[in-house]
């Protein structure tokens, strides 16, 4: 009896030590976790998640401060990818923060632009070029469609347009209705 208890106690002690050591040895590197999360995020830098950019959001997720469903540009697929990465349960996108939209880019109506540079300061990826009292323009290839330039514009000269689809996109074939609806 005593021997059995002792053996069990010893075993749990040993296993505990080994587990502790393993935990120390293979502790996930905080930075690499942030990097991995950041790689999954869409890098729109739109701040809809409540953090001032994708990397700050990634840091917040890694620190456990933020939930994984706060990124509207990533959509449900993005939530799933984060859940897969972190080994947690996927949950529905928090739509209070915004809806998932098709890819868009900002377009400045150059006739109306007064050259106030406010949008240039707002752009998180420096994708707007121009100078004071000079017309501004958006580098469409580098615009992430974050919409952050809309609010500061005093003359409402920025529109969001659908990002042109590359020519190689082929529509998903739809095959005959395998399911017949009763109605």
């Amino acid at each position: 009896m005593v021997a059995a208890l002792l053996t069990l106690a010893l075993m749990s002690l040993l296993i505990g030590i080994v587990l502790l050591w393993l935990g120390q040895r293979f502790q996930p590197d905080e930075n690499s976790v942030v990097e991995q999360i950041n790689a999954v995020l869409p890098q729109t830098q739109c701040a809809q998640c409540g953090y001032p950019g994708c990397r700050p959001y990634a840091q917040a997720i890694a620190a456990g401060d933020a939930d994984i469903n706060q990124c509207p540009p990533g959509g449900q697929a993005g939530v799933q990818a984060l859940a897969d990465l972190l080994g947690t349960e996927a949950r529905p996108l928090d739509e209070a923060r915004g809806l998932h939209k098709p890819p868009i880019v900002a377009l400045i109506d150059e006739d109306r632009c007064i050259g106030c540079t406010l949008c240039i300061q707002a752009c998180p990826v420096d994708a707007i070029i121009g100078a004071a009292r000079q017309m501004h323009t958006v580098i469409a290839d580098e615009c992430t469609g974050c919409e952050l330039c809309l609010a500061p514009c005093p003359v409402d000269c920025i529109d969001l347009v659908n990002r042109p689809e590359p020519f190689y996109v082929w529509p998903a074939p739809h095959i005959l209705p395998i399911r017949v609806r009763a109605s």
Partner: protein, 347 residues
Amino acid sequence: MTAARTFELAGAPHLPPTSTVGGVMRQVLYSLVPAVLAHWWYFGWGIFFQIALAVGFALVFEAAMLKARQRPIKLFLSDYSAVVTGVLFALCMPPLAPWWIAAVGMLFAIVIAKHLYGGLGYNLFNPAMVGFAAVIIAFPIDLSNWLTPRQLSPGLPGLGETAYAIVTGQLPAGLAWDAISQATPLDALRTGVQDNFSVVEIRDHPMFGDFGGLGWEWIANWYAIGGLWLVYKRVISWHVPIAVMLTVIIVSAPMWLLGPDIHPSPAQHVFSGALVLAAFFIATDPVSGCSTMRGKLIFGAGVAIITLGIRRFGGFPDGVAFAILLMNMIAPLIDRYTRPRTYGHRR
């Protein structure tokens, strides 16, 4: 210049299709006709009742499941896959098996093995074999009541007597199981070897015919001829039947040469039971089998080895059905590991 004409868009290729699922299934049915006639010649009217019952239940269950799953009924009934399942199941039934066996078998085959897995194209297991496995476990006695072939029988039951037996589950007055039935050759062999008779002694009985069993071997021949026609028409590929037959011969030949007293000959193995039927018609079922060429060879060889194992060591007389179900389980895995080398890639 005339005004521009507009046309409908469609994906390539723009040629009429070479084959249809319904067409493939119909060809399978045609190629079974000679074997069914041979079955009738040796074992009487029962086979027609079995086919009618199994196909009828199959279609009823199929239509009901399609309706329940909100799928187009006419489209899927016209693919003939349920009919093929029914016919293959019926060919494994004793001629006088009562009607509820077909009902239970088709319930398992169509409702459980096929539609609960997602319908045509999604079933993991061969539906006919699932049905067979279900009834051989549920009704072992009924399934062992095989008739004596015409040449050895005092008289096969007539049309009316067969109908009576199938509908009521009992023999009509004047007929007795002892008189008209006998064990199948595989059964007789198994019990004989267990009772310490040598294979040669057991085979003295006229029911063993030339290689596999009187009647059985000729039905098997007709299966093989129908199957070869399917291979010729490219409905099935040669890989599975060849793999099954060759493996049976290669594995059983050395054992037979070393111990002819306890091991049946390769010919006996090939021509008895449902081996030829399975090799050409059941293991070649595309949905639950392999689709790579090397995968088909491995699948066929696996079916043969497991069948021989069950015949030698198992509790059931013929193990083809279980062998196929077991191989169905690993078919996707085989497919994954037998991927051919893609053009321009190194292995």
